[in-house]
Symmetry: C2
Subunit: 386 residues, 2 copies
């Protein structure tokens, strides 16, 4: 297959965008990405949308056709890809496959979610559709409750204290301060973390990422079509998706994100690199426990030792393994179906050297990992600056 490059990126701030509809948000991101790529909507051959909740919350499906028409690309192939909170990166894989295979030469992928107001059920009920409807949600487990059970087990199993997770949230907020698109642009302290309101014991408000409205888009083309668009050429060095059971109780080992391990290892093999070569890692810190489990599954820490990287101050922009460099889900915000695309846009910003105050110096290889459900669908990508 052909090598694929990221020709343009675009994003809206993550916020409560009550004055903008779903199509407006997606359109803003795509049009910004087209401008960044110095091309136009008329040149697009396909559009793939990552979105989870437009049906129940916005009473709108068929987003592919809707957004293609709205941005000025009426007629092109378009579809929505859904994999719960992993929808963004799953859609990116569809776009990647379309270009890598030779089917198309110029496509866009946009992740979009509008979830701070709803025309249907509560957002909490809608998010619970990422869990197993018959064996988790029907028992009254919300999505945060599932993660709380996992975190409680982790604390018990490996002997850590709740406060040992503080560095993940503190780092994300410290980085988010400098990202104009972040939902929460305010630093927090260890004291703030310790005193935050409890949500689902042991997860408190500062363990949890905020929901939000937003869209992020990328323009893809064959790597050898990129000539002098003014940016360093960023290519997709690896891409893999893997799954696990949706219900946590059904896993072989509830403390292992098996799909993260499988997709990360596939990516390392494709790119010919190992964890030690990754300059930054945009992980899926929807809850602080997920940051620890991701680091372990991807080979950055031993089993049960993920929190150690935070405690040893290795996760900041100048650390050994910078994570959540633009705020992560925790501070940038988590518009669920858009998050995977925000991660890929942010890795691109880092590899281009456009990340501002939290720029990882000399970043050349970046990894992004997007999780759907409490580990059920996990999509990993490695991007590389040529």
């Amino acid at each position: 297959m052909r090598e694929v490059a990221i020709l343009g990126i675009g994003q809206t701030p993550v916020d409560e965008h009550w004055e903008k509809s779903l199509r407006h948000l997606a359109g803003e991101a795509v049009i910004a990405a087209l401008a960044d790529a110095r091309t136009g909507a008329q040149q697009l051959e396909a559009l793939y949308v990552g979105n989870m909740l437009s049906g129940p919350l916005n009473r709108q499906e068929n987003l592919g056709a809707l957004i293609a028409d709205w941005v000025g690309a009426r007629g092109v192939e378009a579809a929505k890809i859904e994999a719960a909170c992993g929808s963004g990166a799953a859609a990116f894989r569809a776009g990647l496959m379309a270009v890598a295979s030779g089917e198309f030469d110029l496509v866009t992928v946009v992740g979009v979610e509008k979830m701070t107001e709803t025309g249907g059920p509560s957002t909490t009920a809608a998010l619970a559709t990422a869990a197993d409807a018959d064996w988790e949600a029907a028992q009254g487990l919300s999505f945060v409750a599932i993660n709380a059970l996992v975190m409680r087990r982790y604390l018990h199993e490996f002997g850590w204290k709740h406060s040992d997770f503080a560095p993940f949230s503190i780092n994300a907020h410290a980085n988010g301060v400098h990202n104009p698109n972040a939902r929460l642009q305010e630093a927090i302290t260890a004291k703030d973390y310790a005193r935050a309101r409890m949500v689902a014991d042991p997860i408190n408000l500062l363990d949890a990422s905020p929901i939000g409205d937003g869209a992020a888009a990328i323009i893809l083309c064959p790597a050898d079509h990129v000539h002098g668009n003014g940016y360093p050429v960023i290519t997709v060095a690896a891409s893999a998706s893997a799954t696990d059971s949706i219900a946590v109780h059904d896993r072989n080992d509830p403390m292992l994100l098996a799909a993260a391990q499988r997709s990360a290892e596939a990516c390392y093999a494709q790119a010919g690199v190992g964890p030690e070569d990754i300059d930054l890692f945009e992980l899926h810190d929807a809850f602080s426990i997920m940051a620890a489990l991701s680091l372990e599954a991807c080979g950055f820490a031993e089993r049960g030792q993920g929190v150690r990287l935070g405690l040893e101050e290795q996760i900041g922009p100048k650390g050994k393994l910078p994570i959540a460099t633009m705020g992560g889900l925790k501070a940038r915000g988590h518009p669920v179906g858009a998050t995977g695309m925000y991660q890929l846009v942010e890795v691109t910003q880092q590899l281009r050297g456009e990340a501002g105050a939290t720029q990882v110096e000399g970043a050349r290889i970046g990894m992004a990992q997007n999780i759907g459900g409490s580990g059920a669908t996990i999509v990993t990508h490695i991007l590389q600056r040529r």
Copy 2:
């Protein structure tokens, strides 16, 4: 890209399956397809799901991971693809791309919908998410009402009578009698059609396809991997998807299915054939007006003359262009996100010579066309017997 073959097919009857959950239905179809392909779930490398309404109606998203695990393929790549009622064929394109590109050697695509009972809004409200939420649904237009406006305009514009559409429904029901998986296995007469209860003038009950629960699945592999599995080898000769505005009032010409035309013409070019070479056409007769418009857009009839093929008795299994040979959406039933996969399974049955009483003699080239929304997303495929 590599040529891709259909190695196995499977389907459940379309019915009111109140005793089976979404995962049971999808699982039955996938396991039947695996058996037909003489392979096992452990050999699968990826699974793509076509589904529209699982979020609002079944309170379940993340269907890719759910179904992969359920059928015994935990771990593989999986995702759901949504394009309203065109979700089935849109998912098929994802599977096709995965194999054609060389990414995987054995994948399954399953279309599934469970819509005769709902844990959320009414099915009518859920189906309206295929329309434009801001400019159609918000005005109180249901999905059948939109099609009624189109049919009314067609009658006015081209001077046909409502009864001129009768042959589409009569043919579909006559064929459905012989399909054990069809929801409605009963013949109807012109008198039945004329006297049917009005739904949304001029669409009456026998112009409209019934909803249903069901799943249909296909196993795909590279064509040169097929050796002596006992069936004629069926390959995917062409595949294309195209879009139009979602809102009908926004089209350049509301009487032309521009996305059907665009995707069909792309398919003819890919396969090196023309409409005259198509031995049967599984079209998207969700409403009888859609049958007429599809025939015109795909070059089987002049503009405004689609109904003529029915009136001239050319659409039966022994006619010049057999359509709805297993009952079509009208009689087999329309479990929306599954329909596109039922069409492709049925074309395969025809090309294998397994279609029973409605077998199209000597069928070698078959076309399937799946429509999402009232023409917004249209996915066309041509299958061919080697």
